[in-house]
Symmetry: C2
Subunit: 409 residues, 2 copies
């Protein structure tokens, strides 16, 4: 008899029927004798409905109040799920952020979890009940309601699992696990049985949408085993766990891609100390994340500087760069939104040479030009023209033997 | 510069437009330099929407969870109103039941307020902000969310006013004050300028819908002056205050009526000690409120017993009475849903004789038969046939000179 934490997202609790379905699923695990805590998101669409209401009143609403408003979505979900569980004869009790309490800092709309005391939840589990926990929400030390931002409910689930020392944190989503690549691009993409935190982290930041990076980070730091599986079908999904020796035998685990970045090139930038800081500091202050940066070899005291930002930030970035550009007398700014980032990921890379070379060769063989390259110990990313994305993903997926064997699936 | 508590009901905050309207109204008072706390209800329709969701899952949901769910309605309202106030340049901060904290007992869905500490609210007001308080909700001593039941937001407002020692508790409704009777029945009904707590209490329990009895009770015990006024128009409404000597000069203040009761008559009940207890205890245990009770003179050891209950409880009351009826061998039960209760109210009655006699005479003159009578120090109620309700109300309103003088309104 273990302790199991389960998390169901907004789609999984998107209607009364689905909430009943989730209740049945939770009931089954509870009836097997496990201690169960369930984390739920707001019903699909509810958070947007609430945000639209606020924006009808103010284009730039007070963030403290936005958190008070949007956190009600999860509050409704936990109440409904607790009622649905009791309807099945399973004793259940809903828990809000302030009750547990999920202590966060005071960064409204993107708060960080500081601490969760296990005692409130333990007490519910000790009484034989299922604890139904509101995801996404917490309170700061003054009792103000906070929310955790994007993917916040996953983070809540991992944090609750850590606090309870749960055996596993099951994240139910609309896919049935983590794949070697996007099955919409490669028909023979294969579901991974196990994957390391490090690989999952890279995949999350490189475009795989199944888990947010900070939930994985939190799980890694606190040694919480995550199990990603489908809320709409049965069967096992993908375990995200500590790196195991066997994992290094596989060179590449997956291929990821991302189309939401844009490239900015500054031509003939003076090549002297402090120039890079002058360019990137204002962007950082405006909270614009710069991803890849390339600086060419200097010639005649000037150099070309190329970097990528989120497409959504492109216009704002250009505005912010303008004064610096004028001051530095940079003659030309080029932008390109028509790009994609294709990446291969695998902990095995650390101990094997030649993986990068093979990736470049594969892209070259397909006639795909590489505009930028960035690497870490366990991933290699290339910026290419957007239209080649699927071609590149399929070629890499095949070249590194990631696909389902024929006649096997 | 005073301290003013304002309460806006669900209709007053029923849309984004109306919330903006309320914000403008609150802003005006705040700009005059007053300390302001505002209590709001859920947006009209929201509580019913949430209750319907719950009932799709369970016909008899856990009441703790229902409170968790329905209390979100007020949480959304306070966030939106705080945002609307800030949009007008008025600093505001929303407050939830657990934050303030509004300590209640643990009777979910109909909790009683035990205590409100003023410090949390005082702190907000001291910082020059408007405190926007969620009505209807509290927490018990274990931090469980509770709701106060019908008219709960009025009660929240009065309790906050008491805690803050406010100069006045303004209750904004869809009517512009308390009238001598229902203006839909008597075209010349007059708005009262002042009325005593005691009269308001009787009026509330006798059918006037403007304020719930328990809010008035709380105000009376804690000496909170209530001002009932319209959220849709300007101008003064009705003050509900401590009885003043001048009030006794008026014999009758108002005429009330109620059509939601039903009459049960038990014929030939054995007239011996303990029989009444045997009949009424099971009803009390089922939380069925018995209003008026009449027992006829005993003849040959048997008597007739007649009493009224809420129409909604009639079927259930009959079911509950059945075993007792059989045990006591009562030969006949009669029920009548076709009744109304008409009442006259006034603190002046206490010191004047003949008011009851005049009421009976007025009804007699209109050919209206009186089925039951009940009196207190400051009210007289008669049960009559439902179809005579309006006739009776108009006749009494005229006979006691309650109407607007002609050419004056």
């Amino acid at each position: 008899m273990g302790c199991i934490v389960q998390k169901f997202g907004g789609t999984s609790v998107g209607s009364v029927e689905r909430i009943k379905h989730v209740a049945a699923r939770v009931a089954r695990v509870w009836r097997e004798g496990h201690r169960v805590a369930v984390i739920v998101s707001a019903m699909a669409g509810e958070t947007n409905r609430l945000i639209n209401l606020v924006h009808e009143i103010s284009p730039a609403p007070n963030e403290r109040e936005v958190d008070v408003i949007v956190s009600t979505g999860e509050q409704v979900s936990i109440g409904l799920l607790a009622v649905a569980l009791e309807e099945l004869g399973v004793p259940a009790e809903s828990c809000l952020g302030f009750q547990i309490k999920v202590l966060t800092d005071s960064m409204y709309s993107k708060a960080r979890i500081v601490d969760i005391k296990p005692s409130y939840l333990q007490n519910i589990l000790d009484r034989g009940k299922v604890a139904v926990v509101a995801g996404f929400q917490g309170v700061d030390e003054n009792g103000n309601v906070t929310t955790l931002g994007r993917g916040g409910s996953d983070l809540s689930a991992v944090a609750v699992a850590a606090a309870l020392g749960a055996d596993v944190c099951e994240i139910f989503t609309d896919v049935d696990g983590v794949y070697t690549t996007d099955p919409n691009v490669c028909a023979n993409a294969r579901k991974l049985e196990r994957i390391s935190y490090e690989e999952m982290l890279e995949m999350a930041s490189l475009g795989a949408k199944v888990l947010q990076a900070r939930s994985v980070e939190f799980a890694m730091k606190n040694d919480v085993a995550i199990h990603v599986l489908s809320s709409f079908s049965e069967g096992s999904g993908t375990y995200v766990v500590k790196e195991e020796p066997s994992m290094e035998k596989v060179l590449v685990t997956s291929v990821a891609y991302k189309k939401d970045e844009a490239k900015i090139s500054l031509r003939r930038v003076p090549d002297r100390p402090g120039v890079a800081a002058k360019i990137f500091n204002p962007l950082a202050n405006a909270e614009i994340v710069v991803d890849m940066i390339i600086q060419n070899m200097s010639q005649e005291g000037v150099t070309d500087l190329t970097f990528t930002v989120a497409k959504a930030d492109l216009r704002r970035a250009i505005e912010i760069l303008k004064p610096t550009i004028e001051e530095l007398e940079v003659p030309e700014i080029l932008t390109d939104e028509d790009i994609a980032k294709v990446s291969i990921i695998g902990v095995g890379m650390k101990t094997h040479a030649g993986v990068a070379a093979k990736m470049f060769q594969v892209l070259y063989d397909e006639g795909i030009n590489i505009a930028m390259i960035s690497t870490s110990e366990i991933k290699i990313s290339c910026i290419i023209k957007s239209k080649y994305t699927e071609l590149a993903v399929r070629a890499l997926h095949d070249a590194f033997d990631l696909g389902e064997e024929e006649g096997k699936s």
